[in-house]
Symmetry: none
Subunit: 199 residues, 4 copies
């Protein structure tokens, strides 16, 4: 298929680097990872790495781009399928809960560190893009839920953002404050209770 096998080989090598680097970033965060670490982790030569990436910054940008790729399509589909909005919101929160608690192997810490070091305006900011994407979907779900009479009549946008900020708060707290499962569960319950019309 490929007209340029060499380019292909390069792409494969790049993927190898990114995979090893991702592992490192998830273990040590962003700033603690050195080019040397990456070289050792992927068994490539020192000079070789520089053919593909000039810095850990460049590597992380690509790792991050690969990471945050359209993981929200599933909720869109569910709406289309006619699944009740309340149920989908439940799924959504459960998914986020998993991310918050099972933080092994996640890039959360590295991503925060990266944006500490490289502040970026909202429209170029991967973290923000992801946040806004989730807000959009959540708002849509809440809107649907209100239409269905299952949820209180709140401002869907503001409510969605509110939920997302709580989740963001839980996420950073899980990384820094020894926040445990119980607290996360309580908050998810609280969120749902605030929205759900008592039946």
């Amino acid at each position: 298929m490929s007209a340029n096998p060499a380019a292909n080989k390069a792409a494969i090598k790049k993927q190898l680097i990114l995979k090893s680097a991702r592992q490192l970033f998830s273990e040590k965060g962003y700033s603690a990872v050195t080019m040397k670490d990456v070289v050792e982790a992927c068994g490539i030569s020192r000079g070789g790495l520089y053919l593909y990436f000039g810095s850990t910054h460049d590597i992380f940008v690509e790792v991050m781009n690969a990471e945050y790729a359209d993981s929200n399509d599933v909720y869109i589909s569910a709406i289309m399928d006619g699944t009740p909005a309340t149920k989908i919101i439940g799924f959504f929160l459960k998914e986020k809960r998993k991310q918050i608690l099972g933080d092994t192997d996640s890039l959360t810490r590295a991503t925060y560190e990266f944006f500490f070091d490289h502040p970026m305006p909202a429209d170029e900011n991967r973290l923000r893009k992801d946040f806004d994407e989730s807000v959009k979907i959540l708002a849509k779900l809440i809107e649907k839920g209100i239409e269905d009479g299952d949820l209180y009549d709140v401002d869907p946008q503001a409510a969605a953002r509110n939920i997302m900020f709580v989740l963001e708060g839980l996420r950073i707290s899980a990384l820094t404050m020894d926040v445990d499962q119980k607290l996360v569960n309580e908050q998810l319950m609280y969120i749902i209770d605030s929205l759900l019309v008592a039946s």
Copy 2:
């Protein structure tokens, strides 16, 4: 006047170091600050710094301890004074808002970085202690507000934690996601609206 002028002088020097270091931490975060940076910032000699602190870790711990000292007494007093709970909550949120937005000169980023590197159980964790302290006060205020008939009858503890997680979410987002004043305002409004009994 002093019974021990030498100890006093040492204390003054320590304060000088802590002050310079605080500045650095607020500018560059925790892990980017080196002992060399501190030395240069406070104009003392290389070896001199080591007389007082053995590592940036040690310095930061002291900076942090000095920072998070009893900043919540004011709300307790206000309750005693008979100020309406709703009004105090307003003050409380306005204060947090200032911290979230005016993040120049704050240790937020450094503190997060520090706890990334040094995970600590809740009972030794300055960040968590501060969080819990705020929760306690907020819960008390909400309870009072409910008694006064100004607030909906929610679980004060969970509600307080919910608010704090939103604030925490706003805080990390302000540092990493280019979250602006408008969004913060919106969220504070949303919080208040969720609690306040329509008059």
Copy 3:
């Protein structure tokens, strides 16, 4: 010619380092030699040295291993050749005498210092191994000398060790006590006189 030129080059570099380091150790002893000294002595870069050796300890171990390599084979051969034991013992002592007196360029001091700092059990101890090796050969020579009727009938083992301790005593004394050639000669004579059957 070489199947692995890169490894070869590395080996050459290592040899260069070891040669410069050996010079330093022989001049300054073991503990006074710093990594910086070695770097400057062999004209490579600071970081470069660390590619090959992690510490002066590591360097010295290799220097020492290279040094004390099978220097005693010659006596074995001589025995085989049928040279009289008494004559070989004479050679042996003359050789030791040269080492004791011409102590420029020797590792004696550095070796002593090294074992001061790194006490090692007999079976891992290069110095001891060398000592024991010499004892073995000397004992064999003495045994032969007794058989030939040239030497008194002493315990060859104990006598060999006795000679070696005298030599060791002369060695440390030459380094620390300004022991001169005359004294060394006297002692070698004394040793020989003690063994040799008067003809």
Copy 4:
């Protein structure tokens, strides 16, 4: 008695320093001991130490002078008392044996290190002076032993030096080569056997 109590106080302080320093030298050798070590060991002030000694070199010289003070008088007395020379030689060797094996708390290593760093001609050399002193006494004892018909008719001087070099060899070997009690005993026996006329 003292006309100058101040000078006395100074002398006491000096003794305190020397005592602490001696301990250090016996533990860590000569060159590893720093002025800082001494300051900490004797609880004196940093500047205070410099009032008495300008360097570890100066301290060690005094420690050494105090150490090697006329410890051989006892043998002289014994000769006068009419104790048989052979018996006194036995005592002498037993004493040396104790020094060689029980090397805790001894300055042997430090002394060797010191003379590595500061080679000194025989007539200013404490170690050599001590050696020669022992030789003198031993020679006298051997001479007496020969007169008494207990010892073979050897050159007392050379024999005495021979014994001393064996002892010196055992001493350095005990420090560097894991030489044990058995070997030391063997050598002392060998020495005695070489001298003693079979009865």
